[in-house]
Symmetry: C2
DNA sequence: TTGTAAGCGTTATCAT
DNA sequence: ATGATAACGCTTACAA
């Protein structure tokens, strides 16, 4: 059997209550403390988190829910979240709900049975509006932080980025470079995030009195093939744009592939303004001009906010935190 | 407070022991069973996994350890693993050890404290040989399944694919298409997996009496930029190859970008034989000829094997399972 | 500050 | 088949 606080207590000549208190940071009489510490050392005692959680119905674990594990954006942020919660001794449980409401319900029940202490949800493509089950769950007294997508009519903590502003500035940047024919390849219509990015696009075009051709607004559903197809269509259209703003990395990759295939030069023949960084893009020449997510900050804010809620601090609930994106102007865009 | 088996017992007019037995599949007297079932329904009872685990020192969770979360291969297999273990009510804990032995040690301790029931490790780039800490851990009586990389001198369950054979056949395929000048862009020298892939390459070349120029063996460290740089070097070399075999998807992507940039046509000017599928590659035209991992099977085998060990079935321990890859001949290779 | 004892929600043993 | 009771390893009143 494993070493318990009873073993430690015995060896140190104190009661197990004293050991417990030591482990939880209460102060002990000097010589007791040293003896307990020594006993822990010698016995190589490891506390049993399961037993610890039983009393307070905690599990010392938080969950990250997402519709799939192949979204690099999600996994980068998850990496940060893990790092931060680990410092306070929380573990990370992953749940893939496959973009399905019923599976999400199952997973949430599953987490409830495990006394999960808090959850972070990336609703992604469909947006949180489609995840109706969340309404029920949010009454369950377990902290929930949403990333990127609010739930209309329901309040919980939310981490956003300045999507509309980012989009506005990206398009404005192109406009200031004398582009007038600017297309956008957007993600999905249901997504709040994409609605905001589209809003920024329209606002910029309007602010500079530029006409938006109907065929310049494309939807690529966040897939590379979507970006590829949209780009081909744009280039074949009667009013081909001189610049394309692509709002996700997979789609950007598809757009680049399409242009390569068409033997169009970036940025000589067409400018590409992408979104986010991901590894394969490192090999694209010239380097992509992009809007970048503050990935670290998103993870930090989400993790810290969740930990605060777990500690019971609801003083500023619900909180919506909007973080700033940054523009990286590189070689894939040029001034006309 | 949450509903417990005591509440259920009271409502059903039986002892809590009876409820527990019901929940664990023991047979009850007919009318007791119905009353328990009804009570569970009415009270919406959810079992407390934490409490359940206390007795048997189980957590009903397995862990997946990997050096980073951005490897699509790992996350695809993790998706399958989650699905399979969830059927038996196990949760999935993720641990990122950042390719660092000390962090791996921390994570393993962390998991031990949580009474994790089993772990699946993707050693990835450096190979398992570099993860010396595993030697200690394997004595801890918790099942460990390794994926892709064995630990020399230590025996545990291992899931492999037929790397050398896959590599041999890919290169042979090119040779049969009259290619003689065939290069390979490999991952890392430390990796067992890459050693095997290199072995297959050499064996195929030798089997057909083809000379291997020294500069045809490149190392891209699994990165896109590595594939990109290697490809540029190959194309600039005194003996440029007519075909390149690239053993990972990120590197393949880099290779394709390099060729696009050099304005070389695939497969007219050069044939590309890749490895694996990943989303952005869907937008590459022509479609890539690749070796494909049996992702589903790897996940299934790993999960089932681990579950068997958790159940205490060590009848065939240690087990090395070698799965077959498949070749997908598509447009990126051609016969000369 | 410390020891004692009750309790967290289960499972498992032992009679019956 | 069932009920009573003792674990499981920890936290936390309560008393001293």
């Amino acid at each position: 059997m494993a070493v318990t606080i009873y073993d430690v207590a015995k060896k140190a000549g104190v009661s197990h209550g004293t050991v417990s208190r030591y482990l939880n940071g209460y102060s002990l009489r000097e010589n007791n403390r040293t003896r307990v510490e020594q006993a822990i050392q010698e016995l190589n005692f490891q506390e049993n988190i399961i037993a610890k959680g039983l009393k307070g119905n905690r599990s010392m674990a938080i969950a990250v829910l997402t519709p799939r594990y192949t979204a690099v954006f999600v996994m980068l942020i998850t990496t940060i979240i893990e790092k931060i919660v680990a410092r306070e001794n929380y573990g990370l449980v992953m749940c893939n709900f496959e973009d399905d409401d019923e599976q999400l319900r199952q997973k949430l029940l599953f987490l409830q049975r495990r006394a999960i202490d808090g959850v972070i949800i990336f609703p992604e493509d469909k947006g949180a509006a489609g995840l109706r089950i969340l309404h029920e769950y949010l009454n369950l007294h377990i902290p929930v932080v949403l990333i990127n997508e609010p739930i209309p009519g329901f309040e919980t903590d939310l981490i956003l980025v300045d999507n509309a502003v980012a989009s506005f500035r990206a398009v404005e940047q192109l406009i200031l470079g004398n582009h007038k024919d600017i297309a956008i390849i957007n993600g999905s219509q249901e997504s709040y995030l994409c609605q905001q990015r589209l809003k920024g696009y329209y606002e910029a075009m309007q602010a500079y009195n530029l006409k938006v051709e109907e065929e310049w607004v494309k939807w690529g559903n966040f897939h590379s093939v979507g970006g590829y197809t949209a780009t081909k269509e744009l280039c074949a259209s009667p009013h081909p744009p001189s610049a394309i703003f692509v709002v996700s990395y997979y789609m950007t990759m598809g757009a680049v592939m399409a242009l390569h295939e068409l033997r169009l030069r970036i940025p000589d023949d067409i400018s590409i303004f992408g979104f986010d960084h991901f590894e394969p893009a490192d090999a694209i020449q010239p380097a992509l001009t992009v809007v970048e997510h503050p990935v670290e900050k998103i993870g930090e804010q989400a993790a810290h906010l969740l930990l605060r809620r777990i500690r019971g601090d609801y003083s500023d609930f619900p909180q919506t935190i909007t973080l700033n994106t940054t523009m990286l102007i590189r070689g894939s865009t040029r001034n006309l």
